[in-house]
């Protein structure tokens, strides 16, 4: 039955309407990924009104290829403007942007796109092979496990993404605090809103990213004159060194893809956090001089998050297909699309709708390959952006920053917030404070709070004695111990 369903899926996926759907999704996704502020969620929401009359095969071809392409093309602005095209590329900027400044954008981008494809395909294949096997993994991660995983993530990135752990931890704590602005999720009590309806919804992620990472670069660009500090690079150096870097780091690529799949599969964790986990693991695995290069343009710092965030797209589909429970924001919209199309996710996706599940896997593979091919093809001309003069770049960058923030939450205060975070970001950059822990604390803080509250209400403090939380505690102790010991040396 599985073989029949697979060949049926193959036949349907290679019909003109589905292939056309893949191309359409691909084009939209490349734009939604490359323009800061636009993202996969917005892309799918805009597509929803048009999917009513389509067959599920065509509709999901458009939507899934859009998601894959977003996860791939969001690397461009991360490299050139220090701003992720969408939140899932936030970890990529840590080393991607320094690579562009070192005049090494073509190699970095090529490697990023290649591992994106590999990560995406691994995610899709895991979905194909291990959908039934991953169900227990999803079930094993209840609120206590999610809480400990989130705390581990914040701790790892605070310790590993800067030279000084105290500064990292302080930035992480500031992010956690910013994440509490808005309504308390349990009691509905307003916190730090100063009577403003705008803040009742909490601070939005996009203005923080734009302000913290992109605006300081505008100032920096104005001072330096161009992104790259070198004035010339041989563009021909891009493809082969990128490919060599991927082959040399193949296990990092695979390991990060697995992190991406699992992160995507655990509801609430998602691709953005998974990319930071993968980055943290890459740093943790490095020694000596190589470790010191992280944050200054180390290619492993690009390979790990890019592999993870593309793989997470397949992972996010696991709880959705298996239990009808979305793994993140993107799959929440996909769930709506499923129901609009009259498809009820759940066990029937492994039964009577198996051919649709297979078709989704094939679409993920194809769209990852195509998105990578397109992005690599335009990498060389795109890499020239790094050598453009600042008077050309600054107006475009400012437009993207303000437009992206405003689109995320259309309100004048959004622009004010973006500027305020811009000032904070500049000060952090100036005084050598890592900004990533702040972002990670902000993104993961509400998750930690909510899962802690659920854990305490459901299990009491005994939740800490469950096996996975115990393992997380052990890993946290190890991270702190190893980090302190290394610095002691």
């Amino acid at each position: 039955m599985a073989f029949e369903a697979f060949f049926e899926a193959l036949a349907i996926t290679f019909t003109l309407p589905v292939l056309g759907g893949i191309l359409l999704g691909l084009l939209l996704g490349l734009v939604f990924g490359a323009v800061p502020g636009l993202n996969a969620v917005l892309g799918i929401v805009l597509l929803l009104p048009f999917v009513w009359s389509l067959s599920p095969f065509v509709a999901f071809a458009i939507m899934l290829s859009l998601v894959s392409a977003v996860h791939t093309s969001n690397t461009f602005p991360a490299f050139f403007f220090n701003v992720p095209g969408s939140p899932s590329a936030a970890a990529t900027i840590l080393d991607g942007y320094p690579m562009a400044r070192n005049g090494d954008a073509a190699r970095g981008l090529t490697a990023a796109f290649m591992v994106s494809a590999v990560g995406g395909i691994i995610g899709a294949l895991v979905l194909l092979v291990a959908l039934p096997a991953l169900q227990p993994v999803v079930l094993a991660f209840a609120a206590p496990e999610r809480f400990m995983l989130v705390v581990l993530g914040i701790l790892m990135i605070s310790f590993l993404s800067g030279a000084k752990p105290v500064k990292g931890l302080t930035a992480g704590a500031l992010g956690l605090w910013l994440g509490t602005v808005g309504q308390d999720p349990q009691l509905g009590v307003a916190r730090y809103t100063f009577g403003s309806d705008y803040l009742l919804d909490g601070i939005q992620t996009v203005p923080i990213i734009m302000g913290l990472f992109a605006l300081p670069e505008v100032v920096s660009l104005a001072i330096r004159g161009r992104i790259a500090e070198r004035t010339h690079v041989d563009m021909g150096e891009g493809f082969r060194p990128g490919l060599r870097a991927c082959i040399a780091n193949r296990w990092l690529m695979v390991r990060s893809a697995v992190v991406g799949v699992v992160g995507g599969a655990i509801p609430g964790i998602g691709g953005t956090a998974a990319a930071f986990y993968a980055y943290g693991m890459a740093v943790q695995g490095a020694e000596g001089a190589e470790r010191e290069r992280f944050g200054k343009g180390e290619i492993k710092g690009v390979i790990a998050p890019e592999s993870a965030n593309n793989a997470s797209a397949g992972g996010e589909l696991v709880p959705l297909l298996a239990f009808g429970v979305p793994g993140g924001a993107t799959s929440a919209i996909l769930l709506a699309a499923f129901l609009i199309l009259g498809v009820n996710p759940g066990p029937e996706m492994l039964g009577e709708k198996l051919s649709l599940s297979f078709s989704m896997v094939i679409v993920l593979v194809l769209s990852n390959l195509l998105a990578t091919a397109v992005c690599i093809a335009i990498t060389r001309p795109a890499a020239r952006i790094a050598f453009l003069k600042s008077n050309l770049l600054i107006p475009a960058l400012l437009l993207f920053v303000l437009f992206g923030s405003y689109v995320a939450y259309p309100h004048p205060y959004t622009l004010v917030l973006t500027l305020l975070f811009g000032v904070l970001g500049y000060l952090m950059m100036r005084f050598d404070w890592a900004r990533a822990p702040l972002l990670v604390g902000f993104i993961l803080g509400p998750l930690a709070e909510n899962n802690l509250a659920i854990s305490l209400a459901s299990y009491g403090v005994a939740f800490l004695t469950r096996p996975i939380p115990l393992v997380c505690i052990a890993v946290m102790i190890m991270v702190v111990f190893v980090s302190v010991r290394r610095r002691g040396h």
Partner: protein, 348 residues
């Protein structure tokens, strides 16, 4: 001369007819709505049932409005739906801003949770559905009767959402009016994560719409294989067809409420469940536009294609027209003061 008179007569008749036609609400609305865009505000995030119903309305409602305007959905989540509702409440009263929200939100204006919205002024357009609330329990728990729920030594962990959600308010009634030994586990962002929590044995029970149990694949399968059981009928609109017989055989929550005031408070609240999916528009609409929108809503709810599409998506359509929905929903404001006070206490 005669010809002239005839022409003048025809002209007069035509002009009169035009005037009569133009004076009817249909014509006025046709003039107004043609080429316009209606915004249906969904005060919750994208992907949920209210979002999907808003999108269904955006597709089907314009077909029944003269002039066939366009319609878009605008998600304005936040503050338990208040931000979106407020945006429509304070919009220009031109009949272009509609809202689809959950009717038990009106209780928050009794409890002081919403101060700047007068629900009596809202233009009510009708309700596309109601919910029959049930209490679903994991089978590994031994309790089956109301007495069991009240006297059990180990608290039953019941999933809950935000404070203004029905998924929180309903179990609060079980706990406070029914005196069930319940420990609320709040924080789930809607029913789907709660269903997964049931599967993970993180919560023992949920109090939710019967249709939700059947739409979510996790609880549908658990219900099918006996991992969870429906153990109590809480009331509201008629249950969905596949659950009718099973729900009919269940004990009724209202029978387990000892205090008469608590019982009256629950009866008033569960009445809201019968019209839990209303559509509304800005207060103070011109009468002709309000009439057009109410009629369009009624026509949409009777539209076989709309009904089939909605049913295919798992909605249970217990529809009420504008007048019925308004009467039912606003009845909470006519409750005696002591019952209103009791409602506030129970939902605090």
């Amino acid at each position: 001369m005669k010809t002239h008179r005839t022409i003048r007569g025809i002209t007069l008749v035509a002009a009169a007819a035009a005037l009569i036609f133009a004076g009817s609400p249909q014509a006025g609305a046709a003039d107004f709505y043609a080429g316009k865009t209606i915004t249906i505000v969904c005060p919750y995030s994208t992907g949920g049932t209210y979002d999907r119903m808003s999108r269904l309305a955006a597709k089907f409602l314009p077909r029944h409005i003269p002039g066939n305007p366009a319609a878009i959905v605008h998600n304005r989540p936040g503050a338990g739906g208040v931000i979106g509702l407020r945006s429509v409440y304070k919009a220009e009263p031109d009949g272009l801003s509609l809202i689809h929200f959950t009717s038990p939100m009106v209780v928050r204006s009794l409890t002081g949770g919403i101060k700047d919205i007068d629900f009596k002024k809202l233009t009510w357009l009708g309700s596309v559905g109601g919910a029959h609330y049930i209490f679903a329990l994991r089978s590994n728990r031994p309790e089956r009767t109301i007495k069991d729920f009240q006297t059990t030594k180990t608290p039953i962990r019941v999933g809950a959402s935000g404070p203004s959600s029905l998924l929180t308010q309903a179990p609060k009634f079980l706990q406070r009016a029914g005196k069930f030994n319940i420990r609320l586990v709040p924080g789930y962002k809607g029913y789907n994560p709660m269903a997964l929590a049931m599967k993970q044995d993180e919560v023992d029970a949920v109090s939710t719409a019967g249709s939700a149990v059947m739409v979510n694949s996790a609880t549908r399968e658990m219900h099918k294989d006996g991992t969870i059981k429906l153990v109590l009928s809480m009331g509201g609109a008629p249950p969905p067809d596949p659950l009718k017989a099973e729900v009919a055989a269940l004990p009724k929550f209202v029978d387990g409420i000892a205090d008469p005031k608590d019982r009256d408070a629950w009866v008033a609240f569960s009445g809201l469940l019968s019209a839990s999916r209303p559509f509304g528009a800005t207060p103070g609409l011109p009468a002709d536009r309000a009439a057009i929108l109410k009629k369009a809503m009624a026509d949409m709810m009777a539209d076989p294609e709309f009904r089939k599409t909605a049913t295919d998506q798992g909605f249970v359509l217990n529809t009420l027209n504008a007048q019925e929905a308004e009467k039912l929903i606003l009845s909470v404001f006519n409750l005696p003061a002591d019952i209103q006070d009791r409602l506030k206490t129970l939902l605090k």
